[in-house]
Symmetry: C2
Subunit: 378 residues, 2 copies
């Protein structure tokens, strides 16, 4: 498996991005991804009971069919808590995109990220569609990966290539994150493109496994958003021997896990105001779930996160976090190891002394800069 | 009911405090409360599965008997995560106190708050006991209420008086809080003294009801501690007609609720680094529990708390918090009202449109000062 630290679109994909005026800064804020061949899609969405309009639409489309051609993304406005009007806004935009691409509205997945509770500037967006559609190219990914960002300070991108039979398969992922990241995927968008020929059930199985160990194992501030989505899109253009859950699955699954984990780590590294990257591994738990609950409890503790920011090895806060989960740890079996807090990359290892399972989560420190960014965001 | 904004010990209680050297600052760090008549005690402790040594001891004592005479408290060291040694340390200190007071070790409740994971300086503490015991007086409360504090910036104290039959009953409460406050009672100590003559079951019933609406309805940073305790101690010295769960209960319960709620609010007002006092009421929920879950989800959202600090009415963060609870709210039924964020006292009112129940929680904003305090605490 070869790994490239930049986005390289797989065969058959093109992308484009423009600045349509949602962001007052004039930065790129509208991206389009397109495949000549039909796309199978596997998606994971926020667990929020108040999901944004595009999430509602996408869920409906995924029940209707699994035959997509394009993905539209805007940043700067979440189209969340906008009710029926928000749904009609998004559908109107999709219709315009569909007519320019000569496809059906049903073949387009929509995404939004940004401020909650404001209507999309529909006319501005529609006006930008001709230029957006005309700009589609394989190099367009270099603008598109920027157009999905909000408070991110760098793009998140990775590409891996590997062989299946005599064919080379590519998986390319881009993401946006920054603040508001929590397990079950706070405001995070991730788009993963592959030219693999793969069954829908293999796509689903691989994405579930990968998301659990990556996007659902990171947390910045424990806050869940209305818009999180991970989309894995496969167009089969590499003509590889078909991948199914039993055939050629391992290599695809491994590659996808790598893509998801690296993107998830980049999101944590770019957490709002973060000065530290923290890996927390909880071992000797009774189950993976128990280990992850303990690890997330530490990762979401403001007191622990500020202690790391202050380079202050206050391990009592780790004890308090574990105790607060209610997991019946024996005090004399509990083992805690914390690396040198002066470094940028920190690790915490906890042994619960209860079993054989482990889980790793990633998080950042809590800093005055996080507050500065979030006190002003609007 | 008369309310006094200071601690006035009820009949039969005395208190004392000294600086024994646990706190390097030389501030008061050891307090003793004593009653000539036996005390009935009702206690609520942290839910932490790794409770501090004194909590383990107190739980054991409460199972053995309900006949106390004294309460010892040290600040600056939590005696938590100190294993069997920590238990022996605390018992050794209790024995010394018992011998000076001429009572049994079993009649003393112990409490500690401060740094986790360090042994108590037992000899220093024992050396201070003679002076501590000698200093017991009803005015001693004015030193004792300071000796229980850690990072608090002011004392928390209140006294209420009311009639039961021809007798005047007094309830006096003092507390320590500051950071690390969460429902189920993070690092918080609260001692409530009353001269009421009351049955144990009435004491328990009143404390449960009051704690639920006060200390378990406040949150500063969602972190739970190893040492939280609320102790309600009744010596019967006012000779009132006996209070039981059915007789004279209402007036006592009302007064206790008032004491607990006022102390809980003071803890939030003194939250580390706080610049705002936030009341969040969630209405029209299917149950009290549902309302409280929604209210706490908002109260524990770092994004919401920083928005309040920034005086930035980002109501999308309230929507996101409610959505993250999984409560099946209908978007068009959800009502959100936020008061002027420029003031020091803020309120948020949320209507879920699902039922008739409501809950109120209290919290503070998240500020750079919180991080500064907690980055350095050790």
């Amino acid at each position: 498996m070869r790994v490239y630290k930049k986005a390289i679109l797989p065969l058959g994909f093109t992308a484009s991005a423009v600045s349509c005026g949602i962001k007052k800064s004039g930065k790129l804020d509208l991206a389009l991804f397109y495949s000549g061949a039909p796309l199978k899609a596997s998606c994971r969405f926020t667990n929020s009971s108040l999901p944004a309009a595009p999430i509602k639409i996408n869920k409906g489309l995924l029940e209707l069919n699994n035959n997509f051609r394009a993905v539209l993304v805007n940043s700067g406005n979440a189209n969340a808590f906008t009710g029926l009007a928000g749904i009609l806004d998004a559908r109107g935009i999709s219709k315009t995109v569909a007519s320019y691409l000569g496809i059906s509205e049903k073949n387009i997945l929509s995404n939004s990220t940004g401020i909650i509770g404001r209507r999309l500037p529909v006319e501005k967006i529609k006006k930008a569609i001709p230029e957006l559609a005309a700009g589609l190219s394989s190099n367009g990914i270099n603008k598109a990966k920027k157009a999905i960002l909000t408070t991110d300070t760098f793009t998140k991108e990775i590409t891996v290539r590997f062989s299946v039979g005599k064919s080379t398969v590519t998986i390319c992922g881009i993401a946006k994150g920054a603040g508001m990241i929590a397990p079950n995927m706070a405001t995070m968008l991730c788009f993963i493109f592959t030219d693999a020929d793969i069954t829908k059930r293999a796509l689903d199985k691989a994405l579930s496994a990968s998301v659990s160990k990556s996007f659902n194992s990171i947390t910045v501030d424990g806050c869940m958003s209305t818009n999180d989505s991970v989309m894995l899109l496969a167009n089969g253009a590499s003509n590889n021997p078909l991948i199914d859950t039993g055939t050629n699955f391992g290599v695809f699954n491994q590659a996808l896990e790598n893509v998801c984990l690296e993107l998830a780590k980049m999101i944590v590294r770019d957490a709002e105001g973060a000065t530290k990257f923290i890996r927390i591994t909880v071992k000797n738990a009774k189950s993976f779930l128990e280990a992850r609950i303990a690890a997330l409890s530490i990762a979401n503790s403001n007191l622990f996160k500020t202690a790391v920011y202050g380079q202050n090895p206050n391990f009592g806060r780790i004890v308090a976090s574990i105790g607060s989960t209610g997991i019946k740890v024996k005090e004399d079996k509990l083992k805690i190891k914390v690396s040198n807090l002066k470094k940028k990359d920190i690790f915490v290892e906890v042994g619960l002394g209860r079993g054989k399972h482990l889980a790793t989560v990633y998080t950042s420190d809590l800093t005055p800069e996080y507050i500065k960014i979030n006190a002003g965001y609007n």
